[in-house]
């Protein structure tokens, strides 16, 4: 019995020891004062400045809830978009008011203000985006040639979309030489990789495609980053560019009928690799100039050799995908997607509609004009509706009396009225795609030859536009008339006209807000 008690005492002792140890007095330090707050007024979220010309002049109003506050200030700048290296903060001031002449490479930087209360050690950080621009980062760019060489004219737009002042032949003025070949297409992307800003990073690049070269130009300085001599990892292929465009997570180049891709996500130095194969057996193919780009879907291409549609889904895949006819209940595709014996005269982007969940893709609609390879008098206007690797074609067989039958240039009203513009007999016509009604839109004054038509629209405060652009040539001189439209038709006189020397093949508007998908990529 005594033995048992002893054991119980030992157990009790152990239990008590544990209980005592667990009863530690709470020595917490609770502070019920309101949290300190530093508020800063007078700092915008973004500033757009011209390097070497504009100053950052700021004197923000700073208040602090701590009555004994002793405030210290630090202003700094660091660069965004540094890839492969941490950005470095450069201190530019230690006073509340700052007046600093900005000297930075043209791109986005972050302005940082740190306010520290020395009394408590509490700091507040504020960020603003500094968009550094140059004269070249805003304006109308005109790609024009003299039949053998291409150059750019820049029309400056300091206050509104209507130009004030121009820089003629600005490409050769900066680079010392023109671009070989006749101008074809302007393509602007912000995600092309180069080291022009000092580190490998996304570079705002204007690609000028001619029939003999592709020039990648850094928009902030207009210096050529590369051309076809050094645009490839391997040997430069035959220089016969068809088109350059941005697609879903990749930028594409069609050259000599072959497709090249640069993945936007994958590591690259801005150099194109091996051409894509049509399929794993590498049968011969030769792509048309024309393409249907998709920002979130496959880009659609057309093989002129086999008269077949092809799809390209990723920049890095080594092969394209074949396309099949989409099956729709109660109706049939207008002609097969493969081996349809047609030559593509034109294809362009018309519109795209998001599908929503769960696909979260786009349904893209384009239009194409085909000519039969056996019977040249058979011409077809097709509505082209790709989805994944299926395609549905709705055919409108053109009558030889249709003005569209003899068209030489085409322009779809992108994401606007259901109208196709075209040039026929040196006149600008429109065709209503719903009811096939054709209408004369513009006849140039005598002596002027039409060289280019395209529709572009853009939204930005003071700079929005929605123009049908019509270019003509008379002797050595060009005119690009910018027309407003109403109900799908050109309305009134041009809003303004760009004038210069050469033959115009493409016109685009660039600003710091423009990115790769601001405009649709299309001929």
């Amino acid at each position: 019995m005594q033995k048992k008690m002893k054991q119980i005492y030992i157990l009790l002792f152990c239990g008590m020891a544990i209980l005592f140890a667990s009863c530690k007095k709470d020595q917490g330090n609770y502070n019920y004062k309101a949290a300190e707050e530093i508020s800063v007024e007078g700092l915008e979220s973004t500033y757009t400045l011209v390097s070497e010309k504009d100053r950052i002049t700021l004197d923000p109003k700073v208040t602090c809830t701590d009555p004994q506050a002793e405030l210290e200030y630090m202003w700094g700048i660091y660069e965004t978009n540094a890839q492969g290296a941490p950005p470095v903060l450069d201190t530019i001031g230690r006073t509340k008011a700052i007046d600093y002449l900005i000297k930075r490479a043209p791109k986005d930087w972050i302005l940082v203000l740190r306010v520290t209360n020395k009394h408590t050690g509490y700091s507040k950080y504020l960020n603003s985006t500094l968009t550094i621009i140059t004269e070249f980062t805003r304006g109308w760019y005109v790609a024009k040639d003299d039949g053998a060489q291409t150059d750019l004219d820049l029309f400056l737009t300091p206050v509104s979309i209507v130009p004030q002042g121009k820089r003629e032949n600005i490409f050769s003025a900066v680079n010392g030489a023109k671009i070989d070949g006749r101008a074809k297409l302007l393509t602007y992307v912000s995600n092309y990789r180069s080291t022009v800003t000092g580190v490998l990073g996304a570079t705002k690049t204007l690609f000028v495609t001619t029939d003999k070269d592709v020039s990648a130009i850094y928009i902030s300085t207009l210096k050529q980053i590369r051309n076809m001599d050094n645009l490839f990892l391997g040997a430069t292929p035959t220089k016969a560019p068809n088109a350059m465009f941005a697609g879903a997570s990749a930028n594409y180049l069609i050259n000599d009928g072959k497709l090249y891709g640069l993945g936007v996500v994958e590591f690259n130095n801005g150099l194109f690799g091996a051409p894509k194969m049509k399929d794993a057996a590498n049968p011969p193919y030769h792509l048309s100039d024309y393409f249907l780009y998709g920002a979130r879907v496959e880009s659609v291409l057309f093989d002129d050799l086999s008269s077949s549609f092809l799809a390209m889904s990723q920049g890095t895949a080594s092969t394209m995908n074949g396309m099949s006819d989409e099956i729709r209940p109660g109706t049939e595709t207008g002609m097969p997607a493969n081996n349809n014996n047609k030559k593509m005269l034109f294809m362009g982007f018309k519109s795209s509609v998001p599908t929503g969940a769960p696909d979260n893709r786009d349904r893209v609609t384009g239009y194409a004009v085909f000519q039969d390879k056996t019977d040249p008098t058979l011409k077809i206007l097709s509505k082209v509706e790709p989805y994944r690797t299926n395609i549905f074609l709705t055919n409108d067989i053109l009558k030889t009396t249709d003005k569209l039958f003899n068209a030489t240039d085409y322009a779809l009203l992108v994401e606007d009225e259901n109208v196709l513009y075209f040039v026929s007999d040196n006149q600008v016509w429109s065709r209503n795609l719903s009811n096939k009604v054709e209408k004369l839109e513009f006849t140039p004054p005598s002596g002027e030859q039409l060289t280019f038509i395209r529709h572009k629209k853009y939204t930005e405060t003071n700079y929005s536009f929605n123009y049908v652009m019509v270019a003509t040539r008379s002797g050595d001189n060009y005119k690009v008339r910018m027309f407003n439209k109403s109900s799908g038709s050109i309305s009134g006189n041009p809003v303004f006209t760009l004038e210069g020397k050469g033959t115009v093949r493409d016109v685009t508007y660039i600003s710091p807000a423009v990115g790769e998908f601001t405009y649709t990529h299309s001929y």
Binding site: N268, P275, N282
Partner: protein, 250 residues
């Protein structure tokens, strides 16, 4: 009750006795020697088993080359010495393998041509161990294995078991480089020969380890095209490897 107490006490003692830490070498007993990675990886624990096997092929060398040297790194443990200290290497026969034959495939470790280099110099703890490999005609048809250990001698006791051996594979044929990537698919001599023929590059250890990602993807694209073209121009007779499998780039 009393028995129970003894049993508990016994178990407690047994448990305590079993918790004895494994005795690592403390390296304060005697000078020891063992292989290690390149000196630049010495303090990187993940690299401790680097360089244990170094394949060597004479494939890329022209016919006048009859021998070459493969280097390994070896480290003395337990401090430096005022005198030069020789160490001793001995070949180990690998069971069920084509073992290299001294004089045919490599210069024997006790030959004075090499064994004069098997020394840790005074004041040093590291040296590079040259193994001279020989281009015997039979290497055109086979790959031999040379495994060797550093063994006890007057100056040194061997170090950790995992670090006292090194191996080389000697051949005059193409050999799978250690750096061969999964992205290239199954390794075969036929595939590597094809890659060399198409790209003009060696596709050996040095080439693969220094290949930039975008170049690698360019080469893969180029090889797929070349393979498709080869198969198209040899209808019914596509490129196959030495095992009879189709050569495929994934």
């Amino acid at each position: 009750m009393k028995n129970l107490k003894y049993i508990i006490a016994f178990i407690a003692m047994a448990i305590m006795a079993s918790c004895k830490q494994d005795a690592y070498y403390l390296f304060n007993d005697t000078a020891r020697i063992q292989f290690g990675p390149d000196i630049s990886f010495l303090y990187n624990p993940e690299a401790s088993l680097r360089d244990t096997v170094k394949p060597h092929t004479f494939y890329y060398d022209n016919a006048t080359v009859q021998q070459d040297t493969v280097f390994y790194d070896i480290y003395a443990i337990g401090g430096t010495s005022k005198n030069d200290r020789a160490f001793k290497l001995v070949q180990e026969q690998v069971p069920n393998a084509a073992n290299a034959i001294a004089g045919d495939h490599f210069v024997a470790f006790d030959n004075s041509i090499v064994n004069k280099y098997y020394v840790i110099k005074a004041g040093s703890i590291h040296t590079r161990v040259p193994v001279i490999v020989l281009r015997h005609p039979d290497l055109k048809k086979k790959t031999v294995i040379l495994k060797f250990n550093v063994v006890a001698n007057d100056s040194f006791q061997p170090g950790e078991i995992s670090n006292i051996w090194r191996k080389t594979e000697i051949t005059d044929r193409l050999i799978k480089p250690l750096a061969w990537r999964a992205g290239y698919g199954k390794y075969s001599v036929a595939k590597q020969e094809f890659m060399i023929a198409v790209t003009g590059e060696r596709w050996d250890q040095l080439f693969i380890t220094t290949l930039a990602l975008d170049m690698e993807s360019y080469y893969m694209g180029t090889l797929k095209i070349a393979l498709a073209d080869y198969n198209n121009s040899h209808p019914g007779n596509p490129l196959k490897d030495e095992d009879g499998d189709l050569v495929v780039f994934p």
